[in-house]
């Protein structure tokens, strides 16, 4: 029993954080579609989950969870989860996947649209009779309206696609947990920004953060995030270990992380007031990310329903 991250796992996260601080500042969210991609590739980030025979490190999802929280915290745009977490379990053999030279989007069961598909060299689409690999040359994309300017959604049509063996399940589970980890990072950043603002914004002659009603709303966010995070870690362990409870645990993680991030977004707006609504303030990028990721890879409602079904079906097994 050793439920916490190792120094190596935290060191990886710290490296990613430094890279993102340097190469994905808030300004980049306004100007770039794939900031810090090259630098993450240089770190070997896109090979972390790939097996050695594909030039990867063969790590588990659990190993990169803290790094994924940092990616959420930085609100990093681009199909990072799709390329670094989903693709290895769908097209792990694809040339140069580990190098980050190939950009991947996915449209798997439960997804409505393919995120960042306009940047993708390859799109993996789940058809009724199996997986399809679509190259950017043969795809027709239609942009769909959404909440998140930095995570555009696309309808995917294609004339030609290569059949792919295997199942979407391992990739989908991992992409969902990775999204939950990002949501934890998004929520932590929204909380930090709101706390910082509540310390400096004064009304009625005092910082608004000194009013008990503001304190308690922010405390509730801290509690929600602090108790959602362990569910995400546990889901990663269950997925890495192919535990029988994996799907239940994935749904528990995604629902809890989504709700924590949505609560953090609501409180952030309440604390900021009207200025929180402005295009000028960077806050809006994190708000949008909280909303878009809470709907990605299954809404909170979908995962709550799965959870309900599992628990009512007497799946009360704890871990281990």
């Amino acid at each position: 029993m050793n439920f916490g991250f190792t120094d190596e796992q935290l060191a990886l996260a710290a490296t990613v954080r430094d890279v993102l601080r340097a190469h994905c500042p808030p300004a980049a969210l306004r100007s770039e579609r794939r900031p810090a991609w090259e630098q993450l590739a240089a770190l070997g980030f896109f090979g972390l989950l790939l097996p050695p025979e594909s030039d990867g490190l063969g790590l588990g999802l659990t190993d990169i969870l803290p790094a994924l929280e940092e990616i959420g915290r930085a609100c990093l745009p681009g199909p990072v989860v799709e390329t670094a977490v989903a693709a290895p379990y769908l097209v792990g053999g694809a040339l140069k996947l580990a190098s980050g030279a190939v950009c991947v989007s996915v449209l798997l069961p439960g997804q409505v649209y393919a995120p960042d598909a306009d940047l993708a060299d390859l799109i993996v689409v789940a058809a009724a009779d199996g997986l399809r690999l679509v190259t950017k040359e043969c795809v027709r994309l239609t942009l769909r309206p959404g909440a998140d300017p930095c995570r555009p959604l696309f309808e995917v049509a294609f004339d030609f696609a290569e059949e792919l063996g295997g199942t979407a399940v391992p990739a989908l589970r991992r992409a969902t947990v990775a999204t939950a980890a990002q949501l934890i990072g998004v929520a932590r950043e929204l909380l930090a920004v709101s706390v910082a603002y509540a310390k400096v914004r004064t009304q009625f002659g005092a910082p608004i953060g000194s009013f008990q009603a503001v304190k308690h709303q922010l405390a509730d966010v801290a509690v929600a995030v602090d108790f959602a995070a362990p569910l995400v870690w546990r889901a990663a362990l269950a997925v890495d270990g192919a535990a029988a409870t994996a799907d239940r645990d994935v749904s528990a993680a995604k629902a809890a992380a989504g709700e924590a991030a949505v609560l953090a977004a609501r409180v952030a707006l309440q604390v900021h007031g009207a200025i929180g609504y402005t295009e000028e303030l960077d806050l809006r990028f994190w708000l949008a990310r909280a909303w878009s990721l809470s709907a990605a890879y299954g809404t909170t409602a979908v995962h709550r329903e799965r959870l309900r079904a599992a628990v009512l079906a007497d799946d009360l097994r704890r871990y281990p």
């Binding site: 097996p51 588990g60 290895p88 391992p170 953060g209």
Partner: protein, 384 residues
Amino acid sequence: MSGNHCSSYQACARLVYVDLDFSPAEQGFRAEVRDWLSAHVPESLPSMDTPEGFAAHRSWEALLAQARLSVVSWPEEYGGRGASLTEWLIFEEEYWAAGAPTRVTQNGIFLLGPSLMRHGTPEQRSRWLPRMARGDDVWAQAWSEPEAGSDLAALTSRAEPASGGWRLYGHKTWSSRAAYATHGFGLFRTSGTRHRGLTYFLFPLADVAVRPIAQLDGLPGFAELHFDGVFADESMVLGEVGEGWRVAMATTSSERGLTLRSPGRFLATADRLVALARSSGDPALADRAARCWVEAEAYRLHTFGTARRLMAGAEIGSAASMGKVFWSELDLRMHALAMELLGERAGETPWLDGFLFSLAGPIYAGTNEIQRNIVAERVLGLPR
């Protein structure tokens, strides 16, 4: 692809995994506890707030102690097994899953015990801890006073120097179990104001005027304690004179932390709640039950993380306040849902008493309003 991937699983060992597996020793301990409990847990005991119920709970503690299961995390010399925090959490999971009786000794074991270990003299520790572990002495806490509830530092009870010790004066209230307990512990003012000049005293309740207070159920779960010159010799002072606040805070931080409410109790409640919801067939209620079950699991996992940090030498500190808010409101949600599920049949089940008790969760051990202030000010750093 995933096939290939798993074949190269060895390579994953490059980083040490986060680990939720229990060691063989921990699993063996769990099995021993489970077997012993399944053999010894009584059908059900009368309320510990009745004379016969109190006696029955005390005998249960003695039986636990014989199996060295009453204070597993304590050193062997005091009746424990020197169990790790993880093993203690395992014990709690098994204890509550087995539906074993509420611990009549809990205020002594969980509130006074840690302070004795940290601040007691060797004499005090060997004099009191083994008796506490066996239930020979049952300790009642005496924190609150009529005008000092949430605002503990406002207490006015005092201790005056007397030859060979002190004389205690004042009026304490909301002292749980005091109607039947043998000893008490609390803070008395020896000088100063507010947090300064308080001293931590132990005292036999035989010397104190105890006035039981009947609760909603009519039973005396609380008592008032009136001190008019009760004598306490030097050996009954815990820690330095005037340092009582620090000694007590060690206690209340453990009270808010792991020891007061381990996950085991809520995991057991959640399992029973899910069974109840399953039989109701209302999906909206089932959804609330499933949510509670996952939240109990979240509290368990969160606690394993805390235990790991504590075993690595860290302090819980203010983060304990987050746990207090989380478990107390989860417990209330679970019991409120059970009330809706059971309706007028609730009184025929343990859920009704559980509901009344769960409503106290956001009040005792520091109200949740205070806890949220602590989270906001000490964890998030917002201005006072």
